[in-house]
């Protein structure tokens, strides 16, 4: 039913039909959203500027009420010994936090720029799974829910245009780190005896100071969300062309491969990758190449895709316009930023990982105490090996 909580310009949902829908959905939070109808200066007119006030997209009252209800829900969801209304708590917390998120969407002024349903879906999954990570009584389930959080985070990374990091996250987090966690959980759990299969460890069954912890966490959250009241920006859909050009200018190999795949080099002198910049006007986006075989060039110019890139004046040299879809991809950008911008950090990251691996081996190594008889047997065994 929540999907019917449609968006768009607020006047669309503030009217009679909005109230009807609210009554149908039976959502308690609804009146709070319309409590101050004149809130948010640019709510009725689409806000085109990059800078927006927080008030334009979220009602602070609803935000804080939602956070308070969420805190109560998380508090109820945390494990405790006696009565355990965990499911109710989880539902309350999820409904409150989801309500705040949906309210953000309702207050967003201009509709239909990005595939938004996906964001709400994955944000909801991430928060719900994160809630279960911290509240589930069985550590294995916590770890599995954390994998769900990682997967939905990766989906949000994809929506933010960070494909490389999304897949790196799945491989490293879900594939490596969480598997280590699962192994350790299985290693470091007492095996239940035959008759008490369902027994929980006392330290899993009960939270420590749940009230204080939840209060602290949600005060932090309220503080953080309040900090953003200074104004936040929208995410412009298009990347900056200049930045793209600047990255492509560092990637002669990519340009050469692309031009080669399009068959542009037929009848033209093909420069070496490291010499390409001598022929390349980066700001104009053109490469000037010498003609070696005019017949071959004219033959390749018959191809439409080549002809629209190469402008042949009949002279010794032709100007090749770089194709408009030759852009730096996300991986190109991250790789360039990583190697050119932070090479020392990259080396240090390798050292950190190596030291962590050594440290883990040293820490977790089991000291084996051998008795005298066992030592004598081991010595005999080693001697026998040597004689073979």
């Amino acid at each position: 039913m929540l999907w019917t909580w449609g968006s768009g310009p607020p006047h669309a949902w503030r009217g009679r039909s909005g109230r009807l829908l609210a009554a149908r959905a039976g959502l308690i939070l609804w009146p709070l959203g319309v409590w101050k109808p004149s809130f948010g200066s640019g709510a009725a007119t689409p806000c085109q500027s990059a800078e927006r006030r927080l008030n334009a997209i979220v009602n602070p009252l609803l935000l804080y009420v939602g956070l308070a209800v969420g805190a109560v829900g998380v508090l109820m969801a945390l494990p405790r010994r006696k009565v355990n209304p965990q499911i109710i708590g989880a539902v309350i917390a999820a409904a409150a936090l989801g309500g705040v998120i949906l309210h953000l969407g309702l207050r967003a002024a201009d509709a239909g720029q990005m595939p938004n349903i996906n964001f709400y879906l994955f944000a909801g999954i991430a928060i719900l799974a994160g809630l279960r990570v911290v509240t589930h009584q069985r550590p294995v389930y916590s770890a599995l829910f954390f994998i769900l959080t990682v997967l939905s985070s990766a989906a949000m990374y994809v929506m933010l245009g960070a494909e490389f990091l999304a897949f790196a996250l799945i491989i490293i987090y879900a594939g490596a780190i969480l598997i280590t966690y699962l192994f350790v959980i299985m290693l470091a759990t007492q095996a239940p005896s035959e008759e008490e299969v369902e027994a929980l460890s006392p330290y899993d069954a009960e939270a420590r100071d749940p009230v204080m912890a939840t209060a602290m966490g949600f005060l932090l959250l309220a503080g953080l969300t309040g900090m953003l009241a200074q104004g936040v920006g929208s995410l412009d859909p298009a990347g900056s062309a200049g930045e793209q050009q600047a990255i492509v200018a560092h990637l002669p190999g990519k340009v050469m491969r692309d031009l080669n795949a399009r068959g542009v080099f037929d009848g033209l002198e093909k420069p070496a990758e490291e010499k390409l910049h001598e022929h390349w006007d980066v700001s104009a986006g053109t490469v000037t190449l010498r003609v070696t075989d005019r017949a071959a060039l004219e033959q390749s110019m018959a191809n439409e895709r080549v002809a629209e890139l190469v402008s042949d004046g009949g002279g010794e040299e032709v100007v090749v316009h770089l194709p408009s879809n030759l852009k730096a991809s996300n991986i190109d950008g991250v790789g360039w930023a990583l190697i050119a911008g932070h090479p020392m950090s990259l080396e240090l990251a390798g050292v950190v990982l190596l030291m962590a691996m050594l440290g883990a081996v040293v820490l977790a190594r089991k000291q084996v105490e051998l008795g005298e008889a066992a030592k004598a047997r081991a010595v005999q065994f080693l001697h026998a090996e040597e004689e073979d």
């Binding site: 330290y203 953080l224 920006g233 995410l235 930045e243 883990a360």
Partner: protein, 123 residues
């Protein structure tokens, strides 16, 4: 399908609004999700007694920080935020290896994962 079904019953102007999605996603939306994940991690770290769950909660905080970094990276149209996330991943992996080795070590000593077993370490 469900959305279409519901939308066809709604008022006409609402129908248009639903087809357009739920409004534009701003930086704020991603930051809100990141902050909720971070706060949940804080709550888990403070409230849970199992050492492994406490470290899992720190991983949840890493996730929140990473999402915020990626969102800012997208907002400013550069890749520095993404590079930082690579380092966050590195530190998370190193931390997981060391922390879990320590957890295994502690578990061997007391046969328990309760953080309060080790309150004598407070000095």
């Amino acid at each position: 399908m469900l959305i279409n079904l519901l939308a066809s019953h709604a008022a006409p102007q609402l129908h248009a609004a639903i087809e357009g999605g739920l409004g534009a996603i701003t930086l704020y939306h991603y930051l809100f999700v990141a902050m909720v994940m971070f706060a949940l991690g804080v709550i888990g770290f403070l409230a849970r007694r199992n050492l492994i769950i406490m470290f899992l909660s720190t991983e949840l905080m890493f996730q929140g920080a990473g999402l915020a970094l990626i969102a800012f990276s997208r907002y400013h149209f550069n890749h520095t935020g993404e590079v930082f996330v690579i380092f966050v991943l590195t530190v998370a992996a190193a931390e997981a290896a060391l922390a879990l080795a320590l957890v295994v070590l502690l578990f061997r000593q007391r046969e328990s994962l309760d953080a309060q077993e080790w309150s004598s370490l407070q000095g």
